[in-house]
Amino acid sequence: MKYMMMMHAPRGSGDWGINNWSPEDFKAHIAFMHNFNKELTDSGVFVQAEGLASPEEAKVVRAAADGAPITDGPFAESKEFLAGYWIIEVDRPERAYELAARVSAAPGHNGVPLNMPVEVRQVMSGPPSKDA
């Protein structure tokens, strides 16, 4: 079964924001993510992962009556944003929760775990697409 882990990160400012991080904090955080991804790959559960660019330019788009795009945002006041996601293939949901908890505890300022919220959702299955 496939799961998507969506990592929500705090905005840049604030108590746990990255503006206060030291170079060592960054190094530790990057090394953590690097090792986490490598472990997912090595253990055969990695399917896909993408990091999303900063939400600075993020827009919410709706179609107008004539189909033209109506854009809203960016929403500077929101406290968290979707920073990236992983898709993993595991044999039971508990395994996905364990992995989500691991990445949630990625180190932040002074190595203190960030305990970021990670939303875990099962990916629906269906008939293979014709291109697969």
């Binding site: 840049g12 990255i18 503006n19 990091g51 900063s54 291109d131």
Partner: protein, 428 residues
């Protein structure tokens, strides 16, 4: 596509032969799009069969025969379908559209690589289309390989290539060498596409890896081919030299975790001396021949960096002079940016910052992380760590490359916590 990758030499041979075979098939058949599909199938067949069966004695003839057979199969099924659809009553059988000529008559001695390049890099195509089509038709890469290099699904890349061929068909680009007058302009488009392929491999604009060396290697190989076929063109020499002199620093450019290492922090001992020697020889000979173009100037600047044994030996005055020439030659905001860096190294950071102000009014630079990154460096040089921090943070939030974001975040953290003066980091 291939369950087992062919060994290096077979792969190299295939990529060399791909445009030559396609040239002949396209000439004989007249339909470039169909010919290209057939040759692609022949290449895939070769990539699967040659590693086990061995390379045939006449590999070009082999590819040609397989491609023609595929083309005939395709035509036959098209004809059959059309016949069914049109309910043609005539009992006339389908005639063999082609009889493969004996090997001697293939006309394989004529190299169509340049003709194909001019066709695939046609100005009617958008750069992503031209790049994809060039890699497939001229580079001999499979759709799967190209899709992999650009991190998109294979079906997407197949569609992009097919649409590119459709555009060529509808714009009626003839399969022939451009005339002398068209040539200069069209060669510019060819070199630009090769340059983009190289850059995409060298500094990937998307994804977690900073470099995708396959693309850089392919761009360099194709540029070598253009140089061999068009040895008198000094801009081709300039582009080839630029690629070699940039590629020479490849190993020094990333750390063990794929992180970016800027020019001034690189271990210069790990730069490739053979590439530097070749690149310097090429650019020196090109510059001595007069008519100087922008690729030659960029190569000359790369050569100055490569020839400095230590970062403090860099001849910034000469770099500044070359950027001055480049600036007069093209209206490119990236040139203005690099010119400002060189000016800062020669006349101080405040002068560099002053030269950057013109870019605030340039719509092409709006929201571009490079402008913030350079400002941050120059403020850091000037000792204004508060501004340097703000611009490093802005740059980190604007870049779409993971290694660059990590690098800029670390720089921001560094100027916030400490206050060391470091020379300007990177021209890349």
């Amino acid at each position: 596509m291939t369950s087992r990758p062919p060994d290096e030499s077979a792969l190299h041979l295939l990529r060399e032969l791909a445009p030559q075979v396609l040239g002949v098939v396209a000439r004989r058949h007249g339909d470039f799009a169909a010919a290209e599909d057939a040759v692609q199938e022949a290449l895939i067949a070769a990539a699967t069969q040659w590693p086990t069966a061995g390379i045939p004695t006449n590999p070009r003839g082999w590819l040609y025969q397989v491609a023609i057979r595929r083309l005939n199969d395709q035509l036959r099924s098209d004809l059959a379908r059309r016949r069914r659809e049109e309910l043609v009553a005539s009992e006339r059988g389908v005639t063999e559209p082609f009889v493969p000529p004996p090997d001697a008559e293939l006309g394989l001695e004529q190299d169509d690589t340049l003709v194909l390049l001019f066709m695939c890099c046609h100005p009617a195509l958008t750069p992503p289309s031209a790049i994809a089509l060039t890699l497939r038709a001229v580079g001999g890469l499979t759709t799967a390989e190209i899709a992999n290099a650009f991190l998109v699904p294979e079906a997407t890349m197949a569609q992009r290539i097919s649409r590119a061929k459709q555009s060529i068909k509808t714009s009626n680009v003839p399969f022939r060498m451009p005339t002398e007058t068209e040539r200069a302009e069209r060669l510019g488009a060819v070199l630009h596409v090769l340059y983009l392929i190289f850059n995409e491999g060298y500094s990937s604009s998307v994804g977690p890896d900073l470099q995708r060396t396959d693309l850089s290697n392919e761009a360099t190989r194709l540029t070598r081919t253009v140089h061999a076929l068009s040895p008198a063109d000094q801009e081709v020499v300039g582009l080839l030299a630029l690629m070699l002199l940039t590629d020479a620093r490849r190993a020094a450019r990333t750390g063990p975790h794929g992180e970016l290492i800027p020019l001034d922090e690189q271990d210069r001992a790990s730069w490739s001396q053979p590439l530097i020697v070749e690149g310097v020889a090429l650019i020196s000979s090109a510059l001595s021949k007069g008519s100087i173009g922008s690729y030659q100037l960029q190569a000359a600047i790369a050569a100055i960096h490569d020839e400095a044994a230590r970062v403090e030996d860099t001849d910034w005055r000469q770099i500044l002079a070359f950027y001055g020439l480049l600036k007069r030659m093209s209206d490119n905001p990236m040139v203005t940016l690099n010119h400002a860096i060189a000016a800062a190294m020669v006349d101080g950071p405040l002068h560099g910052l002053e030269l950057l102000t013109v870019l605030d009014r340039d719509a092409r630079m709006k929201g571009h992380y490079r402008l913030d990154a350079v400002r941050a460096h120059l403020y850091q040089m000037a000792g204004d760590h508060e501004r340097a921090f703000a611009h490093y943070r802005a740059a980190a939030e604007r870049t779409t490359s993971v290694p660059e974001r990590d690098y800029l975040s670390a720089k921001a953290a560094l100027v916030r916590t400490r206050a060391p003066l470091t020379p300007v980091d990177s021209l890349e």
